[in-house]
């Protein structure tokens, strides 16, 4: 596999409070604070973490829908190596043909005054790719691929259910044949039965159209189901990144352990024994010194309170930012196969 996206040391800081002489901000919320990773072509990379950990900001910063404060994003396409962070507006617009986004709420992401055909076809018009009969054909084709009934294309979004609307949003994101898609909580607003339909659809489309996904979600079970690799964010930094099985069954960061132990398994015979985090999450405007998780970590030592741990490899493809990763033995999610073997 080849690398599609290279994100290095991305920071997104938002100014808060205007005080001082020239209205200089009183401080900065460090929503994303120095994040580096790569995304392989054709993979689904999961991004999980608590609300406020900076997942959405990071997803948007990669597309430059929010301008990153610093850092670089390199996009590799057909042998070209494009520095996304240095593109001007016009180049960026062209770039967006290859990078698209699917949002959480299909009720507010579709214009209620446009027919579904217009909603799906709009990117073709805006980018002057197709119009007239060709546009109609392309809309039809992608709508069919996304499981929509072509008979219903002249209807308005209100006539569709949540799951159907999400299909419309997916068709719209796919119509320009992008390479890379950020799915920001794309199934969170849907019911279980519909969520399964959309997850299956995303998997099918990925194979058919060789897509690469960044799958942002807080539902850890859904993430496990669709993702090849998963990264965990805490207070604007990545604490662990690993292949899905490794991350879920053998987490190496105490925060990942806490997340895994908190997943309620849909099996009443297994009582969950969550390792409950104590204390409140610190504010990203004023993160603690050292490891950002040290205030809530049960393994924290003095070292954690002073030195920032770096994301380092601990096993093949498994990276973790913890001073004690080598010596800790942490518990992961229940592995049924292993349970069965005992």
């Amino acid at each position: 596999m080849s690398v599609l996206l290279e994100i290095s040391d991305i920071k997104v800081h938002f100014p808060v409070g205007k005080t001082g002489f020239f209205g200089r901000p009183a401080g900065y919320v460090r929503a994303v604070d120095g994040v580096s990773f790569t995304i392989e072509a054709g993979e689904t990379l999961g991004l999980v973490g608590e609300s406020g950990s900076g997942k959405t900001t990071l997803g948007r910063a990669i597309l430059r829908a929010i301008e990153p404060t610093s850092g670089t994003i390199r996009f590799h396409k057909d042998g070209q190596d494009i520095d996304v962070t240095s593109l001007n507006n016009k180049q960026l617009r062209a770039m967006w043909r290859d990078m698209q986004m699917i949002f959480q709420d299909p009720y507010s992401s579709l214009n209620p005054r446009m027919t579904v055909r217009d909603v799906i076809g709009e990117p073709l018009l805006a980018n002057k790719v197709a119009k007239g009969e060709e546009l109609k054909q392309r809309v039809k084709q992608i709508a069919t691929q996304c499981g929509l009934d072509v008979e219903h294309l002249s209807r308005y979004p209100h006539a569709f259910s949540g799951g159907q609307r999400q299909r419309i949003a997916i068709a719209r994101a796919l119509i320009l044949h992008p390479e890379f898609i950020v799915c920001d909580e794309a199934v969170s607003a849907l019911d279980v039965s519909i969520q399964a339909q959309i997850l299956n659809l995303l998997k099918e489309l990925q194979i058919d159209l060789s897509l690469t996904f960044l799958f942002i979600a807080h539902d850890l079970a859904a993430v496990a189901y669709v993702c090849d690799r998963v990264e965990v964010m805490y207070l604007g930094t990545i604490v662990e990144i690993a292949p899905t099985e490794g991350l879920y069954y053998t987490p190496r960061h105490p925060y990942t352990e806490a997340l895994m132990s908190a997943i309620p398994e849909a099996d009443p015979t297994k009582e969950m024994t969550p390792y409950l985090l104590t204390g409140e999450r610190p504010s990203p405007a004023n993160p603690p010194d050292g490891c950002r998780f040290n205030t809530r970590c049960r393994y924290a030592t003095d070292l954690c309170r002073t030195d920032v741990p770096l994301l380092t490899p601990i096993a093949s493809n498994h990276f973790v930012a913890c001073h004690h990763a080598e010596i800790l033995s942490l518990q992961g999610a229940m592995d049924h196969e292993e349970v069965a073997l005992i």
């Binding site: 496990a224 398994e265 099996d267």
Partner: protein, 346 residues
């Protein structure tokens, strides 16, 4: 009513009135809540689970009316049974029950607090309304309650405003508010849906502990089957205003009989088998519109076990399969199709 039953809903019907036309929202829901037990009402959005729970406190919006049925409530230590449906929608009768004997917590802790009043003010309001104690005593009681739900520095928290609280803290404050009068029944409408998993685990843990300590019964409304498995004793699965299957949690998860329940359990991504990530089995189609209800069994257009000429002709009756397990289906699944890991292991 049985001796240990504290709340019993019998054949409840709720209709939506719109432009002089009536649409059924809840059709013949019946369940019993035993003292100290947790009953989960599960279903997809629009199945009537929230409406059913809101009707217990007569909190339905104006367009919705209870057209028939009974909601019987027996306050603990009393032999007198109150039929909540007979109480006037407003007035002393229902106010004595609401918030005092039966309390409710809502999904969105953000919007269920007034931003203009302090947390303490809003939590102690319940105490002062129902217990007729002095302001000072109400404060002491509230601070104790805030402490109990795990809010650090409760004395300071009393004078803080909701915006100063995080989502998890607000949900704790809401639980404190709901529990401050020692209710015998707590209705929890998706109390953890808006929370992160780690906070959800804390809140579930808190609810479990408080239940043990205070012995209250809980009606837990959710769509998350994982949460159901972890907190409930009994479960009722709802689909389009009817309970389609009902029974003890372990029994329903191990041996689901209604095709909807079976499919719902299959549609949940599970963590146990990441090595073998086969496709999820979604339920075909989507929930029909309330204004376009299918005849007979409302699940028949999406059902894999659909029997032509039978399922759309009449509503299947609720049939007892075992002592506590009942199902509303003409062709219930024969065996347990969802194998759990523990079964594989043995």
């Amino acid at each position: 009513m049985n001796d240990d039953t504290i709340l019993e809903v019998k054949d409840l019907h709720i209709k939506l009135k719109s432009d002089g036309v009536e649409f059924p929202i809840v059709e013949g829901v019946s369940f019993e809540l035993k003292a100290g037990k947790v009953l989960a009402l599960v279903g997809e959005s629009g199945c009537g689970k929230s409406v059913t729970s809101a009707s217990i406190l007569r909190l339905l919006p104006r367009e919705l009316d209870i057209t028939s049925g009974q909601i019987q409530f027996r306050p603990p230590g009393s032999d007198k049974v109150v039929n909540i449906v007979d109480l006037p929608k407003e007035g002393k009768g229902i106010r004595h029950v609401r918030g005092n004997q039966i309390a409710m917590i809502f999904q969105e802790p953000m919007s269920s607090f007034s931003p203009l009043h302090t947390i303490g003010n809003q939590v102690s309001e319940v105490v002062r309304l129902h217990l007729k104690v002095s302001k000072k005593e109400a404060r002491a009681r509230t601070v104790k309650m805030l402490d109990k739900v795990g809010i650090s520095d409760p004395d300071r928290a009393f004078d803080q405003y909701p915006y100063e609280f995080s989502g998890g803290m607000r949900q704790r404050a809401m639980i404190a508010k709901a529990l401050s009068c020692n209710p015998s029944v707590l209705i929890a409408d998706e109390p953890t849906t808006a929370l992160d998993v780690t906070i959800q685990a804390q809140v579930l843990d808190l609810m479990r502990e408080l239940r043990r300590e205070m012995g209250m019964a809980i009606v837990f409304i959710t769509h998350d089957l994982g949460v159901v498995a972890q907190i409930a004793d009994d479960v009722a699965i709802m689909y389009m205003g009817r309970i389609v299957e009902q029974g003890p949690v372990r029994e329903i998860f191990a041996n689901p009989r209604h095709p909807y329940t079976v499919n719902l359990l299959r549609a949940v991504p599970r963590l146990g088998n990441l090595r073998d990530r086969q496709k999820l089995t979604p339920i075909q189609g989507s929930v029909p519109s309330l204004f376009d209800r299918p005849t007979g069994c409302t699940f028949h257009p999406r059902c894999s076990a659909y029997i032509k000429g039978t399922c759309e002709a009449s509503v299947p009756p609720m049939v007892n399969i075992s002592e506590h397990h009942s199902v509303r289906c003409f062709s219930p699944e024969a065996t347990a199709p969802v194998a759990t890991a523990s079964e594989v292991a043995t």
